[in-house]
Symmetry: D4
Subunit: 246 residues, 8 copies
């Protein structure tokens, strides 16, 4: 966003935009009031990445208004948990938007941030892939490179051991697992890197929609594990990128 | 799988397959990487039975790729909790697959394992039958004989007592019960055999989708009971077969 | 209490007590205000039995004030969950009070109510006896006869079947059980009588201080069971007496 | 059922049925084995009422087989929680079946049992009526008379007080309430009769599908309350009838 | 606190304190840094009442340091859930402190705030009195008058109805109840005033240390009820005073 | 309602209605018995606002009967959580009814109550707006003025601080928040007014349908917060109006 | 016990005991009524092992009476969760009793049962050892040989892999683990044998006294695992012995 | 540990230790078998820090054996949650051990690791300090510098804002908070750094021993937060150091 502010300033100095336009820009810097939403325009400066949109609690028209505003600013966009039928409608208006249909995540990356270290994303099973993909797309939009190692759960531990060399190349590791979620403890016991654990709601019965792996991960007997919310691939990706950017 | 490995070796010795083909086989022995899934090909050797597929978290195309690979190896197949509309589509491609529509379990048994002892499967009510059938099909595919005694819950205990002689002929007993799940304690109090208890989500209100019978079974005042996950007929069948094979 | 009111009236008519005294009596009929407690003096008329005192939330002096008032009225007294050291202190002041040390229940029965039908109290194990005794003493003070059949849990069902003839003589049945609490369903499946189930906190681990048997009893697959709070022997006895008095 | 047994015996004595037929009848007395279900034919003798059918866990054909068998015996039938589309199909085959569409309960009463005392059914709100109606129909099929007092929750306590005189005429009281379920304590504080409390899943948020009123009722500070499962109108009706028959 | 600031200012103007002293005062206005605690000195201005001290998580020396600072400012003090042995030690140093031993609340009121409206505090039982007293003392220190109506639970509703006239004189009502906590709904159904409900941990078994009355109060079918934390008498008193001050 | 009673009385005095009609009116004053519902007609006098209708547990015909009765009395109407397809049907019969489609609340305001103080409604996100709107409509129908400040959650705290001046003008504040619900504590730490916190079910995973923000709000470390049920916008609005009317 | 019955019979035949004595023996065969306990004497015949005594719910005198009776029968004895101070008192009377102080288990083995296969007991940490020892002693008293592999949790997986060869020699495996309990899944993925998983209450915070490992084990993604109650070393040992005896 | 291995090698090369001694060293490299514990000696190489000892599940003698072994290796030691009376006994034997009595953490740092970036530790209240200190000591032993900002909870947000500049100098931030735990979301909304949130069990009632802040932190609406177990200061410190070392 820094660049954008400089541009605006230059434009104003060169007389390409009036003082009124310049002032209006500054006025909306902290947030833009859409009445139903106060878009946190300052977040890009404060946190290094603009506000991320959580789709399930928003109406189509609301999403369109928000996207419009972000596109005007040439800001990166991430919309999480967006249904594909919604994306179809929105992308007709804004064809520059992209979509990862497995992760149900919509994004827009107007410029490439230079990729830093690498983040390994590991899943216990195939059912955990949508959450892993949410993390992966988040990381890529933010500018991190990703290695994906899917379906290496503890039921066949050799599949994981076989990939260990690759995993150790990463700077941070994300472990995505449902069922009993034992994979995070195991991985963490084998590596030096910080492990971000994402419990998923994959499973049935006493899995209780992800409570079982959530508790497993919080109680990891192997240190070096921190946990995000159930199915929160975005949160894990975001957190991993913060570390990866250090 | 032992047989298969011998066959491959013989074929190679006899020059029927090239070294390249032989090597490729060995290379994939530990697992076969379908990218979205790492099929644990070694499991058949390590655990005595190949990897079992949990359908709910997989897409149709993924299931088809997996089945294809297993069929090539002439391996036994179990796919649990597969919807009938999915089975219809898959069985058009692979007509050798079979299906137990009550248990929603799909299977393939290319050869008959010689059946050993017998496993008794007892249900409290009729609502528990789908879970019991999942156990039964699992046992039969793995090679155990099964006796089914359905709907003999504690509300009318004479129905159970009447069948006791038959039940005692089994080597292991599976008790499947929802509601309050008291049947496991009762059966275990009457027999010498190990009892594997399967709570089901049959019930309403304070049943809490199977928590009530789960707790009942974990707290059995009668020793000789071990418990698997709610509605996990497959797990009970698998565990019973391990014991039955001893 | 009816008798007492008649007595008071007679005394007044005969001039043994003044109008002032008579009026004061009537004035306090609905409740007696001890400031920290409003004793429901009307309850004996309205509900057939005076207010029962729950000891754990009261101080020694408070208990003494309350007992004093009840004794003046020659009313039956039940104090539940009273620690023995408390009883020792109180009984020095009021030697007419009695105590069941197993049930930790203190009582006073100034007159004998003619006993009606019989209530059977059954426990699963020996650990459930304190709760069963609380029910038994409650019943006896209220005027019901009791048969006790202890330690006949489902782990050895023949112990129960052996006593069935005796149990069937009762008008109401109380089943007290901890662990998994399966006994209530079993008993109810064998008899015509209403079964009042009392879960106890006997057990450990996934018993969760009585939640396991509570859920078991609420989900009884055998109809004719109603449940009271965990360890609430008093409540079961009280409810059983109401039925027994019909 | 007693009558039926006598009839069969008389028929046999009179030579109307052969010994084979008589023997077959006796043979099936304890239970009738439909393979998927073991109908407890003995229950009518043992418990005073035949086995009640819980519909949700049964298939249409299974229900038809069961109903057929019961009708042959001229036994009373209760099928709980039966969807109306199921009833439509079944009643085409067995037009003698009746249905209470509010309670989703199906029943058949081939003869009238002489009604004894009366049972009052009270609800807190209108949303509790389906559960109350389940209790009412159960009671009527079993032979108890019912008074219904609906929508008298604690938010407007005068509505209840106004009906108190009527309520006190009953021998047993059923209180059906969702939301916070406070009505049971209140009613029990006002009457001498045993109160059977039925929590319902009416409510939202921290009601947790009936957990809130369930806990309220189990903890009633007013004695004389026993509780059945959430939404278990049938269980309350059954239990109330047992008491009402004493 | 306004007065104090004026005093300081006057003193400075009159030359009684140096500019250094005046500046130091202003510097510490927002908060005073005791290293282990940052006392929010601004709160009295911002919220109308200074920071309240929650004793259980503090050591004796920490409490003494905090009290010292407050006394220097001549500020009102509330310390909640302070054990009596702690109070004994602290009051030796600061004899101006007072203590309500039932509520375990310590306080200091250097000046009298003119009392406004009245707050009624109602309890269901005697066991709820400590929590009620915490609310009462909080209200009195803050400057509200209090009427106490204890032990009028729903088991004997006439005790409540009898006091209704008095209760209706209050501007706000606090209902403190454990067990099933039904009293809040009942009171709210009878009055116009806002009702603040405080669940207490009085009870046993399925009371779950106050969860039962908490849920009851959150689900009140009678509108006009808001809830604070279990046993949080202070919070209820504080909130009631805010309303009472309007 | 006072006015209505006077009108009726005047009409009767003037002979416009017969004594029979007058008597019938008085007879129905406490409640009107629709058999399935006992409408609490007295509530308007007792509580200052008539009974509010909770739609989810009522059938269309029942709603129509109730509305009809209220309209005859020219009483204000609030129907909460009413689906739009239901409203369409009802409003064809009663075109005077209005509807807030975001809040799913239906209302009728036959006369304007003079607005008193102001209530600020603050939401954490856009997903909380439906619940906030339910509170807003409730307040407006009852006669309170409302200021809405939406989407100012703690993720970008400057949005809130920016609006603080406006918020402080209100007499009471309602904070509506899902996810982790931290907004209530934050707001309460900044203002003098009583804060009514409404947790919403917006979120996923370990949000547990609103349990997370509910617990957050109950444990607020900042005093001056009271809580209503999850998603209970109506309850918050009602409670706020009671305070606002003082 | 078979031997004992033969002995008795022989004694009677040889005239060493009278018919009365013989009859008395037979009479007590099903159970021995101590009034507070009905010892299930038939269990040894029915289940292959006599009734096991759960100490926490019994008084000292009760335990002594029970032990006395068992010793008279020369029966094996297991008393679980017996405090060491209790053991000291009991062993003064019955010096033949033995005690494992880590497991708090008391036992008596009058004869050696010929040991069959071997059972491996694996723990995740050192804190799990008491529960493991309970299993070990149970197995040894029942007649199974035991291999102990302690402290090989997933935090350092090489410790487990190193012992794998030894583990594979066992017929059954018991895995005892607290914290997150991931060890059971891992072990089960590596071996053919049935794995009995015992969650322990070792841990803190979100371990919730063993709920975390309990859920982990119930959801094991690796088949071949069955679970017993939290801290139930005895139950695991008993169940393992049943399998080991096949 | 690298240094130590080099030292050993040099010693061997220089003939200071025999081959036997050298070999024995290598042999024990993966783990040292104390029978009751298998100390993971390889962890220092694999994870960069040796195994950390969790005291609550270990006996005094066990702790002494473990410490002895670590001291011989001149390895850093961390023992968490060690009671002070235990420390007193251990430190008599090993006076080189140090202890943080607030955090109940014992440690030994034989050499100084060069400190890298800085970690800010923030607490909501004073009750959270013990957990914060556990994190602080862990970080310092591992080699990270720490800034402590205690008691800046959301009830007085200006205390936090005032320290923001200092906080922003850190590379990673740890937020420790009990009660409702809102502080983590707030901090994360203001900074770019990754925030590690530690819920504490400080609070009462609906805090449920830390569940409330745990859920709050998992649901943080502000991205960039990951969570560790309740009261797990060590885990947070360990994880923060991993990031700080990148």
């Amino acid at each position: 966003m820094e660049k954008e502010i400089k541009n605006i300033l230059t434009k104003f100095k060169k007389g390409k935009i009036s003082f009124q336009e310049f002032y209006h820009y500054l006025e909306n810097l902290p947030y833009y009031d859409l009445e139903f939403a106060k878009l946190d325009m300052h977040r890009s400066i404060r946190k290094g990445f603009p506000e991320v949109i959580y789709a399930p609690s928003k109406k189509l028209e609301q999403l369109i208004s928000i996207v419009k505003l972000f596109l005007q600013r040439k800001e990166r966009i991430i919309i999480t948990k967006l249904k594909s039928i919604y994306f179809k409608k929105i992308s007709k208006i804004f064809p520059e938007l992209k979509y990862n249909p497995i992760a149900k995540i919509c994004y827009y990356r107007p410029y490439n941030v230079k990729a830093k270290g690498m983040v390994a994303i590991i899943t216990g099973g195939t059912g955990d892939i949508p959450v892993a993909e949410e993390a992966a797309t988040t990381l890529e939009v933010m500018g991190s490179r990703v290695i994906k190692i899917y379906d290496v759960g503890v039921a066949g531990v050799h599949r994981l051991l076989d990939k260990l060399k690759t995993i150790k190349k990463a700077k941070v590791i994300i472990v995505v697992a449902g069922m009993e979620g034992a994979l995070a403890s195991l991985v963490s016991g084998l590596v030096k890197q910080p492990v971000i654990a994402v419990p998923t709601s994959v499973g049935y019965g006493a899995n209780f929609k992800g409570i079982a792996p959530l508790l497993t991960m919080l109680n990891s007997c192997s240190p070096g594990v921190a946990v995000v919310n159930i199915d929160n691939g975005f949160g894990a990706g975001y957190f991993a990128h913060l570390i990866n950017s250090l």
